[in-house]
C-alpha cells in the first residue's frame, strides 16, 4: 500500500538493489560493492549539488543586485556552471615557491573530506541515507570541525601574510561559532530525546520541532542559522576571505583544482548547514502531515520525500543567500562580540528553558496531543 502510494520514491529501488547484491554475492563482497556504489553516489550527488548551488547562488545574487546573472549558456544560463567546472578542471595549477609543500597540498583535502564526511550522513529522503548513526547530529558536528584545520594549514603553508591572517580569522571564527551551532542543536536534542536523524524525522511527523518547542526552539533555530552561516565563512561573516583587505584570504595562493576544492566545499557547507537545519528543525524529508486528515496526508505522500527535503533545504539556502547579499561584513571584534556576548549566553539560557519546558510538559505535542502528538 505504501509503496503503491508513493510512485516516485526510491525506497523500492534501493531495497531491490540491496537484495540483489545480498543474494548473488558473499557478505564481504556484497558489503564492498554496496560501499563502493554508495561512495560513488555520494560523490556524484556532491558534485551535482555543488554545480546546481553555484548556478542558483549566482542567479539569486544577481537578482538581489538588480542584474540578470548568467544567461548566455543554455536557456537562462543553466549550463554555465558546467562550463565553469570544465574551465577549473583544465586550469593550470600554479606551483608556488617557498611554501610548505606537504601541508600546502594536504590542506584542500582536509576541507573537502570534512565536507564530504558530513554530507554522507545527511538523510536525503526515505531510505536515502548512507549511514544512520545513533549519534547523527553529533557526528555531523564533529566531522565538520576538521575542515577548519585545512583552512588553518592552507593559510600557514602558503607563506603569505594575507593567507595567514585569513586563516587565523577563520580559526577564531570557526571555534567560536561551532559552540553556538552545537548548543542550538543540543537544544533540539533535549526536546526530541534522540540524536539519530531517522528518529528525529519520525518524531516530527505531525509537528516540526520548530513548532513543537515553540519559543526556545525558534530561538535555537535562529541561532543555528546565524552560527551555521558564520561557520561556512559566508555572507557578513566572510572575514577569512575578505577580498578588499586580504585579496582572497586563506586560498590566495591556490589555483586550478586545488582552489576548486575550497570553492566546492564552501558551497556544499552551505547546503549541509541547510540540510541539518531542515532535518533537525523542519522535519527533514517528512511530508507535511496532519493528524486525522488521511486523504490530505496521502496526497502529500505523492510528492516524493527527496523533493520535500530539497525544497525545505532550498528555502533555508535562499534565506542564507538573502542574508549574504543584504549585510555588510562584520569587523573581527564585532564578530567575536556577537558570538561570546550574545549568541552563547542566550543559547545557554535557552537550553535551560527548553529543559524546563520539556520536563513540565509544555511542548505543543504535550499540550495538544490530539493534534500534534506522536
Amino acid at each position: 500500500m505504501l509503496l503503491y502510494s508513493q510512485p516516485l520514491e526510491l525506497t523500492k529501488l534501493v531495497h531491490s538493489l540491496d537484495a540483489f547484491f545480498r543474494s548473488s554475492l558473499s557478505p564481504f563482497w556484497a558489503t564492498l560493492v554496496e560501499g563502493i556504489l554508495i561512495g560513488i553516489a555520494i560523490l556524484a550527488a556532491y558534485a551535482l549539488i555543488a554545480l546546481a548551488l553555484i548556478y542558483i547562488e549566482r542567479k539569486i545574487a544577481a537578482f538581489f543586485q538588480s542584474r540578470l546573472g548568467p544567461n548566455r549558456l543554455g536557456k537562462y544560463g543553466v549550463i554555465q556552471s558546467i562550463a565553469d567546472m570544465i574551465k577549473i578542471l583544465i586550469k593550470e595549477i600554479i606551483h608556488v615557491n617557498k611554501i610548505d609543500k606537504l601541508l600546502y597540498y594536504l590542506a584542500p583535502f582536509f576541507v573537502i573530506v570534512a565536507s564530504v564526511l558530513s554530507f554522507g550522513a545527511i538523510p536525503f529522503g526515505q531510505s536515502l541515507q548512507a549511514v544512520d548513526f545513533n549519534i547523527g547530529v553529533f557526528y555531523v558536528l564533529a566531522v565538520s570541525s576538521i575542515g577548519v584545520i585545512g583552512i588553518l594549514l592552507a593559510g600557514w603553508s602558503s607563506n603569505n601574510k594575507y593567507s595567514m591572517i585569513g586563516a587565523m580569522r577563520s580559526g577564531a571564527q570557526f571555534i567560536s561559532y561551532e559552540l553556538s551551532a552545537g548548543f542550538s542543536l543540543m537544544t533540539i536534542v533535549v526536546l526530541s530525546g534522540t540524536m539519530q536523524f531517522s528518529e528525529l524525522i519520525e518524531g516530527q511527523r505531525y509537528c516540526w520541532n520548530l513548532f513543537n518547542g515553540h519559543i526556545p526552539a525558534f530561538i535555537a533555530f535562529v541561532i543555528f542559522l546565524i552560527s551555521g552561516h558564520a561557520e561556512t565563512n559566508r555572507g557578513p561573516f566572510d572575514l577569512p576571505e575578505a577580498e578588499s583587505e586580504l585579496t582572497a584570504g586563506y586560498h590566495t595562493e591556490y589555483s586550478g583544482l586545488r582552489f576548486g576544492f575550497f570553492y566546492l566545499a564552501e558551497y556544499l557547507n552551505m547546503f549541509i548547514i541547510a540540510a541539518i537545519a531542515t532535518t533537525v528543525f523542519l522535519g527533514g524529508w517528512m511530508p507535511i502531515q496532519i493528524k486525522g486528515w488521511d486523504a490530505f496526508n496521502q496526497v502529500m505522500w505523492y510528492i516524493p520525500s527527496w523533493i520535500w527535503f530539497f525544497g525545505k533545504a532550498f528555502v533555508l539556502m535562499f534565506l542564507s543567500l538573502w542574508v549574504r547579499w543584504s549585510f555588510p561584513r562584520l569587523r573581527i571584534d564585532l564578530l567575536l562580540n556577537l558570538e561570546w556576548k550574545y549568541l552563547l549566553p542566550i543559547n545557554l539560557v535557552n537550553i535551560l528553558v527548553m529543559v524546563i519546558i520539556v520536563l513540565s510538559g509544555l511542548t505543543l505535542a504535550d499540550i495538544f496531543p490530539a493534534v500534534f502528538g506522536k
Binding site: 544577481a62 538581489f64 538588480s66 542584474r67 577580498e243 582552489f259 570553492y263 543584504s326
Partner: protein
Amino acid sequence: MSFSKYISGIYTGLKSLVGGMMVTWKQFWSKKVTMEYPENRKTLVISDRWRSELIMPHDENNEHACTACGICMRNCPNGTINVISKKVVNEEGKSRVALDKHLWDYGMCTFCNICVISCPSNAIIFNNDFEGAVFDREKLHHQLNHPGSKLREKKKTVPAAPKTPVAPASEATEATRPTPSVVTAGTSTSPADNKTDNAPKTNPSGNLSNEHTDKENN
C-alpha cells in the same frame, strides 16, 4: 552595560536586520537593469559623447576639411595618428601641401580626443559606432580619407557628422549637455566635437552595463 540595555540592543539589532532584509527583498523583485547587448541592438542608445572610431567627414563631393597640417599627429600622446602629406600643384601653378593619407591605428588609440580638440579645421571627429572588433589586427589600421578625396575649398560650411547606424541620443540629453568650453577655429557645431572631458555623464542608459561574473566572494 545594564541588562535592559542588553535586551533592547538585541531587539534593535534584530529589527534593523529585518529592515535591511526587506530592502534587499524589494530589490530582488525589482526590474533588472542589465541590458542584453546583442539582442537589443535595435533599441540600443549610445551617447553622442561616446568616442569610438575616429573618422574624417566627407561631403557629397568627396571633399574633406583636412589641410594635412599634422597638428593632430604631433598632439597625439602615443603616436596613433600618422599624417602623410603630398605636394600638389593647383591651377595657378603653385605647389601646395595636401593630404595623401591620414592613418589612424584603432588598436593604439586611447580615445583622449586631443586630436579632435586640436584640429584647427575640424576635419576629424569621433563617431559612436562602437562595434569595432575585428578578427585581423591589420584591419585596425584605418585610413581616414577616402580614396580620391580632396581638400574642400574655403568658405564652405562643414557638414554635420554622418549618422551612424546606431540611433543617436535623445533630444533631452542634447539639451542637458554642457556647451563646449574651449572653442577652436571654425564655426562648426557638429554634435560630436564636445570638448569637455569632465562633464557629468548625460546619458547613463547609453552605457553598456556588461554582465558581471559574480564570483567576487572568491
